[in-house]
């Protein structure tokens, strides 16, 4: 009996080894090593590192560029998550019925999720061109003022936000559609018998029944939003500008680590980013008790 158990454990170990080794080397070890690095000052070049304790963390308070990055990230995440949810929900409600060629429409809305972000960034760079781009042309044709979009510190982040709301809508729609289709017919029946108007159906039935899905989407979307990098990098030409207006936390981290070679400070920022994400998710989960309805 013992021998067969031992053998089973041996087989398990053999089966796990091909994934365990990369897991340890490339995820668990770096997690710890990053923490150690955040306590040093090092430029990735010299063989010795200088131990500075919590100095890197203390530096957070005095780094206006970091504050700007946090602000940018908060604005970006808030706008993209909220915008994407509203748009995704609207589309899901629209498509939640027997429709001719539904897979086609679903596909059209979903394609931006599949296309590489770099490609979308190049595309929207052309759309946002102040002189020849579609965006300004569309605005001018309906009498609205044209904007500087990516060329102005005031509007650059919003330009990226608009593009990313467009990009995430399809994903949100698909998830919410699946959630909508899980709502039992009887609830709709009961509402109809009661003579409830559509807004009441929406607020009293649809939203509560969707709330677990909405919670899931809020958390997943915000985690994605906090990690955004590709559009920032491509659309600001690697500067995070203009005037640092599009530098988000991950971009700022990349700049500190691979443009200024401040490995210690960048590691501290990495931990800060993770802490912010965890805190935010925990907050969402706590808040969820108030509004999420589980049956």
């Amino acid at each position: 009996m013992r021998a067969s158990r031992l053998r089973e454990a041996g087989v398990a170990f053999a089966f796990l080894l091909p994934s365990l080794v990369p897991l340890v080397v490339f995820t668990l070890y770096p997690l710890a090593y990053s923490g150690y690095l955040s306590l040093t000052e090092w430029n990735l070049l010299t063989p010795t590192k200088q131990f500075v304790g919590l100095e890197n963390y203390a530096r957070f308070a005095h780094d206006p560029a970091l504050h700007r990055a946090i602000l940018n990230t908060a604005v970006y995440a808030g706008a993209v998550v909220a915008g994407g949810m509203v748009a995704g929900l609207a589309l899901a409600l629209l498509l939640n019925r027997p429709l001719w060629l539904r897979p086609l429409w679903r596909g059209v809305f979903f394609v931006p999720t599949v296309v590489p972000l770099v490609v979308l960034s190049a595309l929207w760079l052309s759309i946002y061109d102040p002189g020849f781009g579609l965006m300004n042309y569309a605005l001018r044709s309906v009498g609205l003022p044209a904007g500087q979009w990516l060329s102005s510190p005031v509007s650059a982040l919003w330009a990226i936000i608009i593009m990313m709301v467009w990009q995430t809508t399809g994903y949100n729609m698909v998830i919410l559609l699946a959630g909508l289709q899980n709502i039992p017919e009887e609830l709709y029946e009961a509402a109809r018998i009661d003579g409830a108007s559509w807004p009441r159906v929406f607020w009293r039935i649809i939203l509560p029944m969707l709330s677990p899905t909405l919670l899931f989407l809020v958390i997943v979307s915000s985690i994605q939003a906090f990690r955004v990098f590709d559009p920032i990098f491509v659309m600001s030409h690697g500067t995070g500008g203009p005037a640092n207006s599009t530098a988000t936390l991950v971009f700022y981290l990349y700049r500190q680590a691979f443009m200024f070679f401040e490995a210690g400070y960048a590691s501290a920022i990495a931990y800060l980013t993770v802490a912010i994400v965890l805190l935010f998710s925990a907050f969402q989960l706590w808040l969820a008790r108030r509004w999420v309805f589980y049956d």
Partner: protein
């Protein structure tokens, strides 16, 4: 009766209009890619090209070494996908079918891969690869992705749903674990494997950040990175070539998606509903 019919037509109309508006940027991209350069500098912008210039694709392909970028992406993505399918299936089998000490703790560790954000592991992984002399090679792009928490989780779910009788029958036949994995689990878990394969292919094809960090030479760039650098030099001066380049970069994934849309949508929805 008529009211419902009209309502239905109205809804369809709204759907078509919204979908068309949504698709407009892509239409712009496709048309701009075949325009001659001067068309892209006219105001008001024109939709249809004055002449259809399909040579743009050839010109863009040659202007940056896209052939090399494409090769790199294909090599890297196919390697990662196949390696991940193997490692994840093996690990999933161990977690689903075998008993061993520390199983629960270890499974938590695997899930942690999904949770740990790449920002934290970035610099140490860069340093590890530098010490191994692997920077600026295919290894740097492939090896860190050999293990997948998501894949292990997904495939394990699938294995768990296989009825015990099938395993018992295999045991009677004298099958060892490896044979059971190969003959029982894999065939029955095909949908999960395909779904995971498609998703991971898409994620790795689209990856920009990691190749940006670990490669430095032109020859090792992947498609997204190649396009990012191409954007820097062509934006504002050659929109048509840039759009053509974008189409190359997106085409493989879009085609894959169109061919297997059902799998993508189901895969994503399934993960979503699990919540």
């Amino acid at each position: 009766m008529i009211r419902r019919r009209i309502g239905s037509v109205a809804v369809h109309l709204v759907v078509v209009v919204v979908a068309a508006a949504f698709f407009l940027p892509f239409l712009w991209m496709l048309l701009t890619a075949v325009k001659p350069a001067q068309d892209t500098f006219t105001y008001p912008p024109t939709w249809l090209p004055s002449t259809w210039r399909f040579e743009n694709f050839l010109e863009a392909w040659r202007k940056a070494p896209f052939a090399r970028f494409f090769l790199n992406s294909v090599v890297v993505v196919s390697s990662i996908t196949s390696i991940q399918l193997v490692t994840a299936s093996l690990a999933a089998y161990a977690f689903a079918r075998l008993r061993f000490p520390g199983k629960h703790l270890l499974f938590m560790a695997y899930l942690s891969i999904m949770m740990v954000p790449s920002q934290v592991t970035l610099i140490p992984n860069f340093i590890t690869l530098k010490h191994l002399g692997m920077l600026d090679t295919y290894w740097a792009l492939i090896v860190p992705f050999a293990a997948t928490g998501f894949g292990t989780f997904l495939i394990r779910q699938s294995f768990l749903s296989i009825p015990q009788e099938l395993f018992d029958a295999a045991t009677v036949d004298g099958a060892g674990h490896l044979r059971m994995l190969w003959q029982v689990c894999i065939p029955l878990a095909m949908p999960a494997l395909v779904t995971f394969g498609l998703l991971t292919t898409m994620w790795n094809w689209n990856e920009l950040f990691w190749p940006l960090i670990v490669t430095n030479s032109l020859e090792m760039r992947t498609m997204p990175l190649g396009l990012a650098v191409f954007t820097h030099s062509e934006q504002g001066t050659s929109w048509n070539l840039l759009m053509a380049g974008g189409i190359f970069t997106a085409m493989p994934i879009v085609l894959l998606f169109l061919a297997a849309q059902r799998y993508y949508v189901q895969g994503i929805a399934r993960v979503g509903i699990k919540g």
